[in-house]
Symmetry: C2
Subunit: 427 residues, 2 copies
Amino acid sequence: MTLRAAPTGDIAALMREMGARARAAAHALSLAPRERKDRALRAGASIIRSRTKAILAANAADVEAGRARGLSPALLDRLTLDAKRLEAVAEGLETIAELDDPVGTVLARWTRPNGLEISRVRVPIGVVGIVYESRPNVTADAGAICLKAGSAAILRGGSEARASSAAIHACLVEGLEEAGLPAGAIQLVPTTDRAAVGVMLSGMTEFIDVIVPRGGKSLVARVQEEARVPVLAHLEGICHVYVDGAADLAMARAVTLDAKMRRTGICGAAETLLVDRAVADSHLVPILSDLAAAGCEIRGDEEVARRFPAAKPASEEDWRTEYLDAIISVRIVDGVSAALDHIARYGSAHTEAIVTQDAAAAERFTRECDSAILLVNASTQFADGGEFGFGAEIGIATGKLHARGPVGVNELTTFKYVVRGSGQVRG
Amino acid sequence: MTLRAAPTGDIAALMREMGARARAAAHALSLAPRERKDRALRAGASIIRSRTKAILAANAADVEAGRARGLSPALLDRLTLDAKRLEAVAEGLETIAELDDPVGTVLARWTRPNGLEISRVRVPIGVVGIVYESRPNVTADAGAICLKAGSAAILRGGSEARASSAAIHACLVEGLEEAGLPAGAIQLVPTTDRAAVGVMLSGMTEFIDVIVPRGGKSLVARVQEEARVPVLAHLEGICHVYVDGAADLAMARAVTLDAKMRRTGICGAAETLLVDRAVADSHLVPILSDLAAAGCEIRGDEEVARRFPAAKPASEEDWRTEYLDAIISVRIVDGVSAALDHIARYGSAHTEAIVTQDAAAAERFTRECDSAILLVNASTQFADGGEFGFGAEIGIATGKLHARGPVGVNELTTFKYVVRGSGQVRG
């Protein structure tokens, strides 16, 4: 474990002070009725709307500085807000306010022979640290979802979005205050010094219960490497579509095209297509033609190249690559077993789909594949909290513990046991 | 199966080889029907019984060596097996065989408006690393509970129990083989080199999904400090009994005596008694007299000392101390609020009890206290997987994520999402 930079005493002290404030706010939030949390969210949305002009001006300054610093068009696009995007941010807060309050739900209850009544009750996690790139909307989304889950949030956004994030954050804080909740419930790290991230990851373990990184692979990798608290995240989404020998051709075409091309830059986008040799003659060329017509580059093994000459050769590295772009690697495999072997070897345990009319093949694929989300006859692009009906998500997790797949409000909680007796002793 | 000698100087390679074997075994286990896992457990129990003499001889050698090395009586006691204790080990395997198989359980299922049917299905975690002290029975318990949960176990027991653990482990492996399951499902680290623990904690993250330390505070602290994979554990159990102003005296006496004195060396034993000032006159002396009569040392604040002169003075350090012995720290507090404040400041988030006839006080205590287990009118010594009805536990967790309280077979699993469609695309 390496710390990038030895944090100066000042930053460490600043961060720990924020941590203490978050811990105190978390205690208040854990006891807050849903009405109060929802009121804070709705008030935050109103305040954002009423300050559209000021927020967009702050954002314009961020964008201008980013352009001057040579940010890529993709990063500039993520950084940029307009009236429509800002309205979506405000609506997002209102959507989260509508969600059921997870806190206090009795997850299970049973009575022991000695009369003890045991309940497992959902409670907030406490303090969530969110480390993200220069996307000002995440400031609102992440802060709001933590609030709804009853946890305090410590937000550390990318420095290029500094002014926009601060402007949005101020609205959230005013919303909290309007609802009588502590401002410490949603805090934005005020320094862009990267040492602050190091402190969040390893220097305030008593103040932060879980870290959620939102951003590219290098950010997530740094967080996973350095964090001394649990991390909910996925490093990458090398998602597969397996077209089985019993796949309906029209369905295989539609699912594959959507899985790859609907949006190529999201973690649930397919990166590799595996086609059962049994239908290589009938299915491969139509599927690849659709992709190519949509502007997708095809990289295939030798057999694929023979059948579809426009394909470029795929290297070993291609099977391990999350393109996040209009590129797909394609391989012919011998049935479900070979598809499972390929995924076990090259996959990232995120999301995989099988297209088949054979119930046994579907059952085997979903049973044996160890990824967080397995889809039968549906696009990998459904790997999303909204599509799962969670209303909002803070990310997708591919770890083995606590949460897997979309991390929504429920997944941002934990539980405790309440045991009610009448004087029982163990004796 | 005979244990191979550790190739000197190549502990990391040895451990990673074990990790790869565990990973392969975990895949097989994840697909194994419950009959096969249960058969392995029952066969292991039979083989242990049939080898009682040899196992006890191996244990006698361990004990003799331990005595020569000057192990404390408490450690020697934990190390020592006899026919009765070994029979309990065998029965433990059979108890675990009786438990419901968690794997494959559908935890939730819902259908989206677009027709997608989403299921959350319980699946094994994968590979569990267990690091424990010289208690040979843990070799069987921990290996068995992981097997039942469908995960492979890598066991690293204390060096003083080397021969006993190896003898018990050999029985488990023969049981696996009888049931047609891979021997790699339960592996015992064959070297006593402490470097092996370091490799388990940080050098084989791709092979171990979670670490469970079983042992004293220094062992757990080392694991929590060094581990690069999630850890399910508790560092200590500073458990409190709060006797509320509305407590029934007889109940308060019985619960406190049991919580402290039934067994003083377990993590659920009470370490601090908080008594509401409202009943200090009536309740304090009878409760402390019971404890003193049972051989418990009382350490109290000034007020306690005034009312119960046999009490020694409690220092600030006492409130932070897990005695694991016949000692209790005692404080007079001003009602539920002050009790909650004390616990928040000094507790370890493990287990706390309130004794009260006032439903509102009980509700407030259980709602506001952030520990894993909250008991109303019952002894803290019920903090135990068996007492919760889990059948078996691998430990108690006080972290915020994944599992809290007793970690049983269900808590040693995770889940995945299976999404069934009919060609849905996100479009």
